[in-house]
């Protein structure tokens, strides 16, 4: 674990900041520029950066692939569920006005929940895409990652002149 020492330290410093920024973009989305799409991409960027530097196996220990596969449909369901809730409360589909007794509050709540769902799905989808591509050919028959399949390991091997 002594290779790319600087890279590893900087990454460790950066990732919390990236995640914090993602949360800002996510929850400030109803006041200024931002929202679920952007925040989801930033979260996914943090996870991809982690996987690139520390290897796929470490990254998939941090966030399990089955968790991602649950998050993807869950985000969509939150989105659609907000719509169904507004239907049940007597409004049109996705009419946030009826979600709270005050229409302005309702709009806030609705967009917050919807963007939360969007953010979840986007982050999980992008991370899954990365895992799927990066892990291709490094899996056993059951689809589990083989050890030492990390990208950084491969790069290191190439530098050392090993196959």
């Amino acid at each position: 674990m002594t290779h790319h020492f600087i890279l590893r330290v900087i990454t460790k410093l950066l990732i919390p900041l990236i995640l914090l920024f993602a949360l800002y973009v996510q929850f400030h989305g109803d006041f200024g520029p931002g929202g679920g799409f952007q925040a989801g991409v930033i979260i996914a960027a943090a996870l991809v950066l982690y996987a690139l530097v520390f290897g796929l196996n470490t990254a998939s220990a941090v966030i399990k692939e089955w968790v991602l596969l649950v998050l993807i449909p869950l985000g969509v369901l939150i989105y659609a569920g907000v719509g169904v809730a507004s239907l049940l409360l007597g409004g049109n589909y996705l009419d946030y006005n009826v979600l709270a007794h005050d229409p302005v509050h309702g709009q806030h709540l609705g967009i917050l929940l919807v963007e939360l769902g969007v953010g979840m799905t986007v982050a999980a989808v992008l991370t899954t895409i990365f895992f799927a591509f990066a892990g291709r050919g490094h899996r056993d028959a059951n689809g589990n990652l083989l050890p030492h399949s990390a990208l950084s390991d491969e790069i290191r091997n190439r530098k050392d002149g090993q196959p």
């Binding site: 200024g32 520029p33 799409f37 986007v122 895409i129 799927a132 591509f133 291709r136």
Partner: protein, 118 residues
Amino acid sequence: MNWVTHYNYWIVILLMMLGFYTIIARGNLVKKIIGLNIFQTSVFVLFISMGKIPGGVAPILRDDPTTIYSNPLPHVLILTAIVVGVATTALGLALVVRINEAYGTIEEDEIHEQDRFF
């Protein structure tokens, strides 16, 4: 018709033709997807440049009532189109990976060559 002030359309046309040419002329499946991306990007530029109003600022509500805002709707539309583009690219590349596993190549002519005997 002022040719210079409409430079955004020239960029759009250039990108569109570049992307289109790449899709048609290249036999490499990954390069085709890159061409498709350039082609889609040209449409994004078309939409976004259409929303720009001279002197307009980012469409975030300000107290000053005389502020001119850029049109946010094209941005929203293109955000959706970009997401669609990402999904298309991911799906296309996933197909290329599987083609590579099944045929051992991603060159179009070699794939046709292999399939001819079936």
